[in-house]
Amino acid sequence: MSSSHDRPGGDPGDRFDELEAELRTLGETLHVPTPPPDATARAVRARLEAPAPQHARPRRSGLLRRPRLSPRKAVAAAAVFLAVLIGATPQGRAAVVSVLRFAGVEIRVGEPGPLPTGVPSPLPSDRRVTLDEARRAVAFPVAVPAALGEPSDVRVADGGRVVTLLWPGLRLDEYDGNLDVVFRKDLGEPWPEDVPTIRGWWIQQPHGVSYVPRGGAPQPEERVAGPTLIWQRDGVGFRLEGADKEEALRIANSTR
Protein backbone atom coordinates (compact mmCIF):
# COMPACT_ATOMS: atom_id res chain seq x y z
CA MET A 1 0.00 0.00 0.00
CA SER A 2 2.88 2.33 0.66
CA SER A 3 4.89 1.19 -2.33
CA SER A 4 6.09 3.84 -4.71
CA HIS A 5 3.53 3.25 -7.45
CA ASP A 6 0.82 3.86 -4.92
CA ARG A 7 1.94 7.37 -4.28
CA PRO A 8 0.00 10.15 -5.89
CA GLY A 9 1.84 12.63 -8.02
CA GLY A 10 4.43 11.43 -10.48
CA ASP A 11 6.70 14.44 -10.32
CA PRO A 12 9.73 13.68 -8.16
CA GLY A 13 9.65 17.22 -6.83
CA ASP A 14 6.04 16.79 -5.84
CA ARG A 15 6.22 14.04 -3.26
CA PHE A 16 3.72 13.67 -0.51
CA ASP A 17 5.38 10.98 1.59
CA GLU A 18 5.61 13.01 4.75
CA LEU A 19 2.17 14.48 4.44
CA GLU A 20 0.76 11.02 3.81
CA ALA A 21 2.53 9.70 6.89
CA GLU A 22 1.20 12.64 8.94
CA LEU A 23 -2.30 11.90 7.76
CA ARG A 24 -2.04 8.22 8.63
CA THR A 25 -0.73 9.05 12.08
CA LEU A 26 -3.48 11.58 12.55
CA GLY A 27 -6.03 9.00 11.47
CA GLU A 28 -4.79 6.66 14.16
CA THR A 29 -5.26 9.31 16.83
CA LEU A 30 -8.83 9.98 15.79
CA HIS A 31 -10.99 8.28 18.28
CA VAL A 32 -14.35 7.22 16.97
CA PRO A 33 -16.66 5.91 19.65
CA THR A 34 -17.91 2.50 18.67
CA PRO A 35 -20.21 0.17 20.55
CA PRO A 36 -18.94 -3.33 21.32
CA PRO A 37 -18.99 -5.34 18.08
CA ASP A 38 -21.21 -8.07 19.46
CA ALA A 39 -23.73 -5.48 20.60
CA THR A 40 -23.87 -4.21 17.03
CA ALA A 41 -24.20 -7.77 15.77
CA ARG A 42 -27.13 -8.37 18.09
CA ALA A 43 -28.77 -5.10 17.18
CA VAL A 44 -28.48 -5.90 13.47
CA ARG A 45 -29.90 -9.33 14.05
CA ALA A 46 -32.81 -7.87 15.95
CA ARG A 47 -33.50 -5.56 13.01
CA LEU A 48 -33.35 -8.45 10.58
CA GLU A 49 -35.70 -10.51 12.66
CA ALA A 50 -38.11 -7.77 13.68
CA PRO A 51 -41.32 -8.38 11.74
CA ALA A 52 -42.94 -4.98 12.21
CA PRO A 53 -41.54 -2.63 14.80
CA GLN A 54 -44.91 -1.44 16.02
CA HIS A 55 -46.29 -4.86 16.72
CA ALA A 56 -43.25 -6.83 17.65
CA ARG A 57 -43.21 -8.19 21.14
CA PRO A 58 -40.06 -6.63 22.41
CA ARG A 59 -38.97 -9.61 24.38
CA ARG A 60 -39.22 -11.78 21.31
CA SER A 61 -37.52 -9.27 19.06
CA GLY A 62 -34.49 -11.38 18.56
CA LEU A 63 -33.07 -14.73 19.19
CA LEU A 64 -29.94 -13.24 20.46
CA ARG A 65 -26.71 -15.08 20.58
CA ARG A 66 -23.18 -14.01 20.91
CA PRO A 67 -20.54 -14.84 18.37
CA ARG A 68 -18.74 -18.04 19.17
CA LEU A 69 -15.80 -17.83 21.46
CA SER A 70 -12.90 -20.17 21.46
CA PRO A 71 -13.43 -22.78 24.17
CA ARG A 72 -10.54 -21.39 26.15
CA LYS A 73 -11.87 -17.87 26.13
CA ALA A 74 -15.33 -19.14 26.78
CA VAL A 75 -14.27 -20.99 29.88
CA ALA A 76 -12.73 -17.81 31.21
CA ALA A 77 -15.80 -15.83 30.38
CA ALA A 78 -18.30 -18.44 31.38
CA ALA A 79 -18.47 -17.65 35.06
CA VAL A 80 -20.68 -14.67 34.54
CA PHE A 81 -21.07 -12.62 31.45
CA LEU A 82 -23.21 -9.68 32.18
CA ALA A 83 -24.23 -7.19 29.60
CA VAL A 84 -26.71 -4.44 29.76
CA LEU A 85 -27.96 -3.49 26.36
CA ILE A 86 -29.91 -0.32 26.42
CA GLY A 87 -31.45 0.99 23.28
CA ALA A 88 -29.44 -1.17 20.98
CA THR A 89 -32.04 -0.64 18.30
CA PRO A 90 -34.57 2.11 17.85
CA GLN A 91 -37.45 -0.30 18.23
CA GLY A 92 -35.71 -1.93 21.14
CA ARG A 93 -35.37 1.35 22.91
CA ALA A 94 -38.77 1.07 24.49
CA ALA A 95 -37.97 -2.25 26.05
CA VAL A 96 -34.93 -1.84 28.21
CA VAL A 97 -33.68 -5.33 28.56
CA SER A 98 -30.84 -6.54 30.68
CA VAL A 99 -29.18 -9.64 29.47
CA LEU A 100 -27.40 -12.11 31.65
CA ARG A 101 -25.58 -14.92 29.93
CA PHE A 102 -24.42 -17.70 32.08
CA ALA A 103 -23.55 -21.30 31.46
CA GLY A 104 -25.38 -21.64 28.19
CA VAL A 105 -28.44 -19.76 29.35
CA GLU A 106 -29.39 -16.30 28.26
CA ILE A 107 -31.65 -14.57 30.73
CA ARG A 108 -33.40 -11.47 29.54
CA VAL A 109 -34.87 -9.35 32.28
CA GLY A 110 -37.18 -6.71 30.93
CA GLU A 111 -40.73 -5.61 30.91
CA PRO A 112 -42.83 -8.43 32.26
CA GLY A 113 -44.67 -9.44 29.12
CA PRO A 114 -47.44 -11.98 29.11
CA LEU A 115 -46.27 -15.46 29.86
CA PRO A 116 -46.20 -17.74 26.86
CA THR A 117 -49.23 -19.86 26.27
CA GLY A 118 -47.41 -22.43 24.16
CA VAL A 119 -47.83 -26.06 24.99
CA PRO A 120 -44.58 -27.65 26.14
CA SER A 121 -43.03 -29.40 23.21
CA PRO A 122 -40.09 -31.77 23.18
CA LEU A 123 -36.65 -30.53 22.23
CA PRO A 124 -35.65 -31.18 18.61
CA SER A 125 -35.00 -34.83 17.73
CA ASP A 126 -35.63 -35.80 21.29
CA ARG A 127 -35.31 -39.52 22.00
CA ARG A 128 -35.49 -41.75 25.03
CA VAL A 129 -32.25 -43.47 25.95
CA THR A 130 -30.64 -45.23 28.85
CA LEU A 131 -28.17 -43.38 31.01
CA ASP A 132 -25.29 -45.28 29.44
CA GLU A 133 -26.48 -44.48 25.96
CA ALA A 134 -26.75 -40.84 26.93
CA ARG A 135 -23.19 -40.85 28.19
CA ARG A 136 -22.01 -42.25 24.88
CA ALA A 137 -24.13 -39.85 22.85
CA VAL A 138 -22.87 -36.57 24.22
CA ALA A 139 -19.50 -34.86 24.30
CA PHE A 140 -19.66 -33.70 27.92
CA PRO A 141 -19.77 -35.73 31.15
CA VAL A 142 -23.34 -36.52 32.19
CA ALA A 143 -23.76 -36.02 35.91
CA VAL A 144 -26.48 -37.56 38.07
CA PRO A 145 -27.41 -35.88 41.37
CA ALA A 146 -26.74 -38.29 44.20
CA ALA A 147 -29.66 -36.72 46.07
CA LEU A 148 -32.07 -38.03 43.46
CA GLY A 149 -30.61 -41.32 42.32
CA GLU A 150 -31.39 -42.97 39.01
CA PRO A 151 -33.63 -40.85 36.84
CA SER A 152 -36.95 -42.29 35.79
CA ASP A 153 -36.45 -41.12 32.24
CA VAL A 154 -33.41 -40.01 30.22
CA ARG A 155 -33.62 -38.15 26.95
CA VAL A 156 -31.06 -36.95 24.46
CA ALA A 157 -31.96 -34.19 22.06
CA ASP A 158 -30.60 -32.30 19.10
CA GLY A 159 -27.77 -34.60 18.16
CA GLY A 160 -26.40 -34.91 21.68
CA ARG A 161 -26.47 -31.26 22.54
CA VAL A 162 -28.75 -31.65 25.54
CA VAL A 163 -29.38 -34.48 27.95
CA THR A 164 -32.51 -34.30 30.05
CA LEU A 165 -32.92 -36.34 33.20
CA LEU A 166 -36.42 -36.63 34.59
CA TRP A 167 -37.79 -37.61 37.96
CA PRO A 168 -41.41 -37.20 38.98
CA GLY A 169 -41.94 -33.45 39.11
CA LEU A 170 -38.31 -32.64 38.43
CA ARG A 171 -36.43 -31.96 35.27
CA LEU A 172 -32.67 -31.52 34.91
CA ASP A 173 -31.21 -30.41 31.60
CA GLU A 174 -27.48 -30.78 31.05
CA TYR A 175 -25.60 -29.27 28.14
CA ASP A 176 -22.28 -27.86 27.10
CA GLY A 177 -22.29 -24.63 29.05
CA ASN A 178 -19.28 -23.05 27.40
CA LEU A 179 -20.08 -22.17 23.86
CA ASP A 180 -23.57 -21.53 22.71
CA VAL A 181 -26.66 -20.17 24.26
CA VAL A 182 -28.81 -23.27 24.68
CA PHE A 183 -31.78 -21.87 26.55
CA ARG A 184 -33.23 -18.45 26.66
CA LYS A 185 -35.37 -17.18 29.48
CA ASP A 186 -37.57 -14.13 29.41
CA LEU A 187 -38.68 -12.72 32.69
CA GLY A 188 -39.76 -9.53 34.36
CA GLU A 189 -38.21 -8.19 37.51
CA PRO A 190 -36.78 -9.19 39.88
CA TRP A 191 -33.35 -10.04 38.67
CA PRO A 192 -32.34 -13.67 39.27
CA GLU A 193 -30.73 -14.35 42.59
CA ASP A 194 -27.02 -15.05 42.59
CA VAL A 195 -26.05 -18.27 44.34
CA PRO A 196 -22.29 -18.03 44.63
CA THR A 197 -21.77 -21.27 46.55
CA ILE A 198 -22.60 -23.29 43.45
CA ARG A 199 -21.83 -20.57 40.91
CA GLY A 200 -25.41 -20.41 39.90
CA TRP A 201 -28.55 -18.33 39.63
CA TRP A 202 -31.97 -18.92 41.08
CA ILE A 203 -35.08 -17.76 39.26
CA GLN A 204 -38.09 -17.81 41.53
CA GLN A 205 -40.83 -16.47 39.30
CA PRO A 206 -42.57 -18.30 36.48
CA HIS A 207 -40.99 -17.26 33.21
CA GLY A 208 -40.81 -18.04 29.53
CA VAL A 209 -38.14 -20.49 28.48
CA SER A 210 -37.21 -21.39 24.96
CA TYR A 211 -34.70 -23.74 23.48
CA VAL A 212 -32.19 -22.08 21.17
CA PRO A 213 -31.27 -24.58 18.46
CA ARG A 214 -27.72 -24.88 17.31
CA GLY A 215 -28.46 -23.25 13.98
CA GLY A 216 -30.36 -20.47 15.68
CA ALA A 217 -33.81 -20.93 14.21
CA PRO A 218 -35.62 -17.63 14.23
CA GLN A 219 -38.66 -18.48 16.33
CA PRO A 220 -38.14 -20.85 19.20
CA GLU A 221 -40.96 -22.60 20.92
CA GLU A 222 -41.58 -20.96 24.22
CA ARG A 223 -43.18 -22.41 27.30
CA VAL A 224 -43.61 -21.49 30.93
CA ALA A 225 -41.03 -22.68 33.38
CA GLY A 226 -41.48 -22.67 37.14
CA PRO A 227 -38.77 -21.85 39.65
CA THR A 228 -35.45 -22.84 38.17
CA LEU A 229 -31.88 -23.14 39.30
CA ILE A 230 -29.12 -22.84 36.74
CA TRP A 231 -25.52 -23.55 37.50
CA GLN A 232 -22.33 -24.75 35.96
CA ARG A 233 -19.75 -27.30 36.88
CA ASP A 234 -16.71 -28.33 34.86
CA GLY A 235 -17.97 -26.61 31.76
CA VAL A 236 -21.33 -28.35 31.88
CA GLY A 237 -24.41 -26.23 32.22
CA PHE A 238 -27.30 -27.43 34.40
CA ARG A 239 -30.89 -26.29 34.49
CA LEU A 240 -33.06 -27.74 37.22
CA GLU A 241 -36.75 -27.11 37.22
CA GLY A 242 -39.43 -28.16 39.65
CA ALA A 243 -37.75 -27.97 43.04
CA ASP A 244 -37.97 -25.24 45.66
CA LYS A 245 -34.82 -23.30 46.30
CA GLU A 246 -33.59 -25.29 49.26
CA GLU A 247 -34.11 -28.61 47.55
CA ALA A 248 -32.63 -27.32 44.31
CA LEU A 249 -29.45 -26.31 46.10
CA ARG A 250 -29.25 -29.68 47.81
CA ILE A 251 -29.62 -31.39 44.45
CA ALA A 252 -27.05 -29.14 42.82
CA ASN A 253 -24.57 -29.83 45.58
CA SER A 254 -24.98 -33.54 45.10
CA THR A 255 -24.44 -33.43 41.36
CA ARG A 256 -21.07 -34.75 40.34
Binding site: L19, P33, T40, R65, P67, R68, T89, G215
Partner: protein
Protein backbone atom coordinates in the same frame (compact mmCIF):
# COMPACT_ATOMS: atom_id res chain seq x y z
CA UNK B 1 -14.98 -19.07 10.27
CA UNK B 2 -13.57 -17.03 7.41
CA UNK B 3 -15.57 -14.44 5.48
CA UNK B 4 -16.31 -16.78 2.63
CA UNK B 5 -17.79 -19.44 4.85
CA UNK B 6 -19.71 -16.88 6.87
CA UNK B 7 -21.17 -15.40 3.67
CA UNK B 8 -22.12 -18.80 2.35
CA UNK B 9 -23.90 -19.62 5.55
CA UNK B 10 -25.50 -16.19 5.81
CA UNK B 11 -26.83 -16.60 2.27
CA UNK B 12 -28.52 -19.76 3.47
CA UNK B 13 -30.21 -17.71 6.18
CA UNK B 14 -27.83 -18.50 9.01
CA UNK B 15 -28.01 -15.38 11.16
CA UNK B 16 -25.36 -16.66 13.54
CA UNK B 17 -22.90 -16.64 10.69
CA UNK B 18 -23.97 -13.15 9.73
CA UNK B 19 -23.48 -11.99 13.30
CA UNK B 20 -19.89 -13.12 13.01
CA UNK B 21 -19.44 -10.91 9.95
CA UNK B 22 -21.14 -7.96 11.60
CA UNK B 23 -18.97 -8.23 14.69
CA UNK B 24 -15.86 -8.59 12.56
CA UNK B 25 -16.45 -5.40 10.55
CA UNK B 26 -18.34 -3.37 13.11
CA UNK B 27 -15.43 -1.15 14.10
CA UNK B 28 -14.37 -0.48 10.50
CA UNK B 29 -17.97 0.32 9.60
CA UNK B 30 -18.38 2.73 12.51
CA UNK B 31 -15.14 4.51 11.69
CA UNK B 32 -16.14 4.83 8.07
CA UNK B 33 -19.56 6.23 8.87
CA UNK B 34 -18.25 8.64 11.49
CA UNK B 35 -15.33 9.93 9.44
CA UNK B 36 -17.40 10.30 6.30
CA UNK B 37 -19.79 12.48 8.24
CA UNK B 38 -22.51 10.46 9.92
CA UNK B 39 -21.69 12.10 13.23
CA UNK B 40 -23.64 10.81 16.17
CA UNK B 41 -25.92 8.91 13.84
CA UNK B 42 -23.09 6.61 12.87
CA UNK B 43 -24.53 3.79 14.93
CA UNK B 44 -27.83 3.90 13.14
CA UNK B 45 -26.16 4.24 9.76
CA UNK B 46 -24.00 1.22 10.46
CA UNK B 47 -26.87 -0.98 11.58
CA UNK B 48 -28.92 -0.01 8.57
CA UNK B 49 -25.95 -0.69 6.30
CA UNK B 50 -25.53 -4.16 7.75
CA UNK B 51 -29.23 -4.85 7.30
CA UNK B 52 -29.02 -3.76 3.66
CA UNK B 53 -25.84 -5.74 3.14
CA UNK B 54 -27.62 -8.86 4.38
CA UNK B 55 -30.56 -8.30 2.07
CA UNK B 56 -28.26 -7.73 -0.90
CA UNK B 57 -25.78 -10.43 -0.06
CA UNK B 58 -26.90 -12.33 -3.15
CA UNK B 59 -25.43 -9.57 -5.30
CA UNK B 60 -22.03 -9.78 -3.67
CA UNK B 61 -19.38 -11.13 -6.05
CA UNK B 62 -17.88 -14.03 -4.22
CA UNK B 63 -14.37 -13.52 -5.51
CA UNK B 64 -14.35 -9.96 -4.17
CA UNK B 65 -13.44 -8.83 -0.67
CA UNK B 66 -16.31 -8.30 1.72
CA UNK B 67 -14.97 -5.28 3.55
CA UNK B 68 -14.91 -2.70 0.74
CA UNK B 69 -18.25 -3.98 -0.53
CA UNK B 70 -19.72 -3.44 2.91
CA UNK B 71 -18.04 -0.08 3.41
CA UNK B 72 -19.50 1.12 0.14
CA UNK B 73 -22.95 0.48 1.56
CA UNK B 74 -21.91 2.32 4.72
CA UNK B 75 -20.63 5.23 2.63
CA UNK B 76 -23.87 5.32 0.63
CA UNK B 77 -25.97 5.27 3.78
CA UNK B 78 -23.86 8.09 5.17
CA UNK B 79 -24.39 10.06 1.94
CA UNK B 80 -28.12 9.52 2.13
CA UNK B 81 -28.13 10.78 5.67
CA UNK B 82 -26.11 13.91 5.04
CA UNK B 83 -28.05 14.62 1.88
CA UNK B 84 -31.39 14.22 3.62
CA UNK B 85 -30.21 16.59 6.31
CA UNK B 86 -29.18 19.07 3.66
CA UNK B 87 -25.92 19.56 5.41
CA UNK B 88 -22.32 19.03 4.68
CA UNK B 89 -20.75 16.09 6.39
CA UNK B 90 -21.09 16.35 10.12
CA UNK B 91 -17.38 15.72 10.39
CA UNK B 92 -16.99 19.45 9.94
CA UNK B 93 -19.13 20.33 12.91
CA UNK B 94 -17.68 17.70 15.16
CA UNK B 95 -14.11 18.58 14.50
CA UNK B 96 -14.85 22.26 14.85
CA UNK B 97 -16.25 21.56 18.29
CA UNK B 98 -13.53 19.24 19.32
CA UNK B 99 -10.91 21.80 18.58
CA UNK B 100 -12.23 23.90 21.40
CA UNK B 101 -10.14 23.44 24.53
CA UNK B 102 -12.41 20.93 26.15
CA UNK B 103 -9.60 18.44 26.25
CA UNK B 104 -9.08 15.06 24.70
CA UNK B 105 -11.58 13.40 26.98
CA UNK B 106 -14.73 14.77 25.45
CA UNK B 107 -17.32 12.17 26.14
CA UNK B 108 -18.42 11.82 22.57
CA UNK B 109 -17.47 12.70 19.08
CA UNK B 110 -14.13 12.55 17.49
CA UNK B 111 -11.35 13.47 19.79
CA UNK B 112 -8.24 15.11 18.52
CA UNK B 113 -5.25 14.25 20.56
CA UNK B 114 -2.43 16.33 19.17
CA UNK B 115 -2.31 20.01 18.49
CA UNK B 116 -0.56 19.76 15.15
CA UNK B 117 -3.03 17.07 14.30
CA UNK B 118 -5.88 19.43 14.98
CA UNK B 119 -4.42 21.86 12.49
CA UNK B 120 -4.08 19.24 9.80
CA UNK B 121 -7.52 17.93 10.61
CA UNK B 122 -8.96 21.40 10.26
CA UNK B 123 -7.40 21.53 6.81
CA UNK B 124 -8.88 18.14 5.90
CA UNK B 125 -12.33 19.22 6.89
CA UNK B 126 -12.07 22.27 4.67
CA UNK B 127 -11.32 20.16 1.60
CA UNK B 128 -14.00 19.93 -1.07
CA UNK B 129 -16.24 16.94 -0.33
CA UNK B 130 -14.85 14.64 -3.00
CA UNK B 131 -11.25 15.26 -2.13
CA UNK B 132 -11.96 14.97 1.56
CA UNK B 133 -13.66 11.63 1.08
CA UNK B 134 -10.72 10.30 -0.89
CA UNK B 135 -8.25 11.53 1.72
CA UNK B 136 -10.34 10.12 4.58
CA UNK B 137 -10.56 6.71 2.92
CA UNK B 138 -6.92 6.54 1.95
CA UNK B 139 -5.31 7.81 5.14
CA UNK B 140 -7.76 7.88 8.01
CA UNK B 141 -9.34 4.56 7.12
CA UNK B 142 -6.12 3.30 5.55
CA UNK B 143 -7.82 1.77 2.55
CA UNK B 144 -5.89 1.02 -0.60
CA UNK B 145 -6.60 3.01 -3.76
CA UNK B 146 -8.58 0.10 -5.17
CA UNK B 147 -10.62 -0.25 -2.00
CA UNK B 148 -11.22 3.47 -1.93
CA UNK B 149 -12.45 3.34 -5.51
CA UNK B 150 -14.92 0.63 -4.57
CA UNK B 151 -16.09 2.32 -1.39
CA UNK B 152 -16.64 5.67 -3.06
CA UNK B 153 -18.01 4.11 -6.24
CA UNK B 154 -15.56 5.84 -8.54
CA UNK B 155 -12.80 4.72 -10.88
CA UNK B 156 -9.25 4.13 -9.73
CA UNK B 157 -7.96 7.08 -11.75
CA UNK B 158 -10.51 9.31 -10.06
CA UNK B 159 -9.28 8.23 -6.65
CA UNK B 160 -5.72 9.00 -7.65
CA UNK B 161 -6.54 12.44 -8.98
CA UNK B 162 -8.82 13.43 -6.09
CA UNK B 163 -6.26 12.25 -3.58
CA UNK B 164 -3.47 14.20 -5.26
CA UNK B 165 -5.54 17.32 -5.49
CA UNK B 166 -6.49 16.96 -1.86
CA UNK B 167 -2.91 16.42 -0.75
CA UNK B 168 -1.73 19.41 -2.73
CA UNK B 169 -4.40 21.56 -1.17
CA UNK B 170 -3.56 20.29 2.29
CA UNK B 171 0.08 21.10 1.86
CA UNK B 172 -0.77 24.61 0.78
CA UNK B 173 -3.12 24.96 3.69
CA UNK B 174 -0.96 23.75 6.55
CA UNK B 175 2.22 25.19 5.14
CA UNK B 176 5.67 24.01 5.92
CA UNK B 177 5.73 24.34 9.68
CA UNK B 178 3.85 21.09 10.09
CA UNK B 179 6.21 19.19 7.87
CA UNK B 180 9.80 18.90 8.99
Amino acid sequence: MDDDEAITRALAGDLDAYEVLVARYSVAAHRTAALLGAGDEAEDVVQEAFVKAFRHLGGFRREAAFKPWLLRIVANETHNLTRSRGRRADLTVRLGQEREPDGPDSPEGIVVAADGGARLLAAVRKLPDREREAVVCRYFLQLSELETAEVLGVRLGTVKSRTSRGLRRLREEVGRELLP
